[in-house]
């Protein structure tokens, strides 16, 4: 097995705001070339963690390093690019000038910076509008510009904080495709998101954070399968059926009504399908549809956040 180099190392990282512990002694590591997802509900501590790792705020405890350098140090910042949730280009400067400013801040020679900026702007479809002030851009265009600004220094590690939040489909797809390509080319990606599909499609591993604490770290597929209680059977009957009646069936842990269908959560979906057929027959009901469902990452996420999921039994 090939040992991959650790590029982000976090140990007992803590941040407090008054009495609130925003990030509570979290520890994890990210290896070179990995796409690491940081998943959690709003206010869980995702952005606070990313801001500590990128040097925007100082932690109150613990330590973090980027490629062996303390997080927030100039050397750590030299190898990272940051795409925050809210676009933060200089509105009065053109896209081109914003990129040149970033290149200057990273000490990139001007001739190399021009080449790189032109290539990046072409890739995100902004080259034709490079002279326009950033404030005249749409939200999606601004976020594409921010991605270019983060990449102008060709960083080893890219931090993305909810990069597609609130964007139009075209911009979101373009950004995600670019992130996928960057990761394929060997860049390490640290992605904070609450978009399950985004995390599922892009990430090699996902850390789930809730109320400042890490509650799981694993590959998306393993997280999904580990929550066995979230297997389910989706069934639709022709005739009157109540949630309470279905909840009484053996092995059912939870029932959710979804339009004209019921979703029954169970650890044994095969056996439950057989039970449902018997139940329908005994009550004189006709089954319109019956499907077994594997747990989604969203199911796993909800189960983890809610501490194992709610059971109505």
């Amino acid at each position: 097995m090939i040992e991959r180099e650790t590029v982000i190392q976090v140990g007992n990282l803590t941040k407090r705001y008054g009495k609130l512990v925003a990030v509570d002694h979290i520890s994890f590591s990210v290896t070179k070339g990995e796409c690491f997802g940081f998943l959690g509900p709003n206010g869980a501590g995702k952005t606070t963690t990313a801001r500590m790792l990128t040097g925007v705020i100082r932690p109150d405890g613990g330590d973090a390093s980027i490629v062996g350098h303390p997080a927030g140090s100039l050397r750590a910042k030299q190898v990272t690019g940051v795409v925050p949730e809210m676009a933060n280009a200089y509105g009065d400067l053109s896209a081109w000038d914003n990129l040149m400013l970033m290149a200057d801040l990273y000490g990139i020679p001007r001739s190399h910076a021009r080449e790189r900026a032109a290539s990046l702007l072409r890739e995100v479809g902004l080259f034709e509008r490079k002279a326009d002030p950033a404030k005249a851009y749409s939200k999606g265009m601004k976020q594409r510009l921010i991605l270019c600004m983060a990449l102008v220094s060709d960083p080893e590690i890219l931090f993305l904080d909810e990069p597609t939040s609130g964007l139009d489909v075209q911009s979101a797809r373009m950004i995600m495709e670019m992130v996928r390509r960057l990761n394929r080319d060997g860049k390490t990606i640290f992605l904070t998101t609450h978009d399950m599909d985004e995390a599922n499609e892009l990430c090699d591993r996902i850390a789930v954070i809730n109320k400042g604490r890490l509650i799981a770290i694993d590959a998306p597929e393993r997280l999904r399968m580990a929550t066995s209680g979230t297997h389910s059977v989706e069934v639709s009957f022709e005739g009157p059926v109540t949630e309470e009646a279905l909840c009484k069936l053996p092995s059912v842990t939870r029932v959710t009504k979804m339009g004209d269908k019921f979703r029954l959560y169970t650890a044994d979906p095969g056996q439950l399908a057989v039970t449902l057929v018997g139940y329908a027959s005994s009550k004189g009901l006709r089954i319109v549809s019956l499907n077994t469902k594997a747990p989604t990452l969203e199911d796993a996420f909800v189960a983890l956040i809610e501490g194992g999921g709610k059971c109505v039994k």
Binding site: T54, K77, A89, L105
Partner: protein, 212 residues
């Protein structure tokens, strides 16, 4: 321009009209006020303004020291103060006010612009992303300073206790050295004014760099 030029000019006029002040006395005061207001006009609002537009966070993630960012803000204010200081000098020359010691005046303007720009940066230490909050804090300090710094009344005409208060203001030393440069005489020796401005600059700069 409003806070840095128009406002001090009108304030100055309101306190000098009908007082039969000579241009030789009035122009150094006007120069001091304009330099003080312009050099402290930009540096206090840059940090909150950048925090509001989130570009400060962008800068914080770049491989740049916070001290460099603060010095950059101070230099912007310094350059603005320096450029606008030409306006009262031109007005003075047009009114026939000569400059007896142009080199001394030049050194004093450069030093004072940097000193006041550093003071401006001190105003933005309270963490806020609302420029108006910082402007309010700055105004609370700036206005009393103008009235205790010998801008409208010569230091030698002030009672001893008022002179004691005047010595607490960096503007006092600039107004004094500006009068010496233009009129040929001042209340304090030029070297004392320069030393005082250097000391104030060091203190303001140290506070701004440490506290941000």
């Amino acid at each position: 321009m409003v806070f840095g030029v128009l406002f001090p000019v009108f304030l100055f006029l309101s306190f000098t009209i009908n007082r039969h002040l000579t241009a030789e006395f009035a122009i150094p005061g006007l120069l001091g006020m304009i330099l003080f207001f312009t050099a402290t006009a930009i540096s206090p609002v840059v940090v909150p303004w950048e925090a509001q537009s989130r570009t400060l966070e962008r800068l914080m993630t770049c491989p740049v020291r916070i001290e460099t960012i603060i010095l950059g803000d101070i230099l912007a204010s310094f350059a603005f103060g320096l450029a606008i200081s030409i306006v009262p000098i031109i007005i003075g020359l047009a009114l026939g006010v000569g400059i007896a010691l142009p080199a001394v005046l030049g050194v004093a303007i450069v030093l004072a612009a940097f000193c006041f720009a550093s003071l401006g940066q001190v105003f933005s230490i309270p963490p806020t992303n609302i420029p108006a909050t910082v402007n309010m804090i700055a105004s609370v300090v700036k206005f009393p300073v103008v009235f205790i710094s010998g801008v409208f009344v010569s230091l030698s005409e002030l009672p001893a206790w008022a002179q004691g208060i005047a010595y607490l203001s960096p503007l006092t030393y600039f107004t004094d050295i500006a009068r010496r440069s233009m009129q040929g005489e001042g209340h304090l020796p030029a070297w004392a004014d320069i030393l005082a401005l250097l000391a104030f600059t060091a203190v303001f700069l140290a506070i701004a760099l440490r506290a941000h």
